[in-house]
Symmetry: C2
Subunit: 237 residues, 2 copies
């Protein structure tokens, strides 16, 4: 196990305090240190394996919060809500609310990579969850502070399960129901039309076209197609 220098130890203690955990919590500090070490610092001693564990931890916490608080929701809604809860966007947002970027060790060019910041924060957040889980082999250092966030977010998301991300919602639905992914076929219109919606996407499942949409980018066209498909399977209530 690596040595943690006093300055780093104080940093980590400050984060733990922000999470509302006691200074006497049975924490494996060397794991927390690792969780906040980006691969640009070390190829082998970084947060990647902890992130892998934390990815499963965060899915479990999300599932438990839904099970305990949204018992009447349909399983399709569970899946759609969870896909938002565990998205990079939400995890990075939570990480930001605890100032995780202040504790994350990043080196060199990765440091200046602002575009990658969201996924970096989300990854490190998952890794921190992995470190906390492995400290006690339980969720006891996690649920007390993460549950309230997830409960509130889930309540908001449940009003609009797709939360504008129809591709993710549709994918959760097809994965859950058919264990398969929808397929997107994108065509670029030539010459570009005047309003610049120059991509046309179709979304297919098992040889059947579920929807079609246009957009200024491939992503936008796919989202438009996914929205048509998703709303057809989950009519607005």
């Amino acid at each position: 196990m690596s040595v943690i220098y006093p300055r780093r130890q104080r940093q980590l203690q400050s984060l733990v305090k922000k999470l509302g955990l006691s200074a006497q919590a049975p924490l494996k500090w060397e794991l927390l240190d690792l969780a906040l070490t980006h691969p640009s610092i070390s190829e082998s001693a970084n947060y990647e394996q902890l992130e892998f564990v934390g990815d499963a931890v965060v899915r479990l916490v999300a599932a438990l919060v839904l099970w305990e608080n949204f018992h009447d929701a349909r399983v399709g809604d569970f899946a759609a809500i969870r896909s938002v809860l565990v998205s990079d966007r939400i995890l990075a947002q939570l990480a930001g609310s605890y100032g995780l970027e202040l504790y994350l060790l990043v080196a060199g060019s990765a440091y200046g990579d602002k575009a990658g910041q969201e996924s970096r924060l989300a990854d490190a957040f998952e890794a921190v969850l992995g470190a906390l889980y492995l400290s006690t082999n339980s969720l006891e250092l996690i649920r007390p502070w993460l549950d309230p966030h997830f409960k509130q977010l889930a309540a908001e998301i449940s009003l609009d399960p797709a939360r504008q991300n129809y591709k993710a919602a549709l994918q959760e639905w097809t994965q859950g129901k058919y264990k398969t992914l929808p397929e997107y076929r994108v065509t670029q219109l030539t010459p570009p039309t005047h309003n610049q919606e120059r991509f046309v996407a179709e979304v297919w499942l098992h040889g059947r076209k579920l929807g079609e949409g246009k957009g200024r980018s491939i992503k936008a066209a796919e989202q438009a197609a996914a929205k048509v498909a998703f709303l057809a399977i989950e009519p607005p209530q």
Copy 2:
């Protein structure tokens, strides 16, 4: 909570014994009963929500087994191995080894649906894991009997992480690395060629073609394309 009839209670006790759990284990029997009730029996009181919880539980157990026993593996291998461990095929196989089909209540046409048996068993298996987790809010009723299976399977799979399922392996890799899915574009050759490999699939990621393959079915062509792509990113060792 529903009443469990004595005959059903004896059935469930016999299953719990097979899992090696003590008859005094702090089990929520009504959840175990629900975990073994197919949606064809009841639209609302069935295993679907427990399966949703169990899906996260099984991913966590797989991650923990990999963390504890395969510490030197690369994260890409972790992802590929886990995708096999939590696949319907493996989960149905484990379910079968405990004779889960004997305990699963199924009604009507679903009963005769042999083709759906694998996913039904895998789903019920996940639901049982969900029920066991929720009984103690921990993995203590699960890891003692599931860990040895996963350890042995992971050791086998680590010799061939893609395990012939290159689409799943490639998807795990692109999800882990780029948070996105590869896209398949399939064309049907007309007229069909003599050897009947009449589908050509291309696999794309971020506007770049990763591989191409042919097959007698769309699925086979996609697997062939995924194999080319996966072996290019993960050279055989």
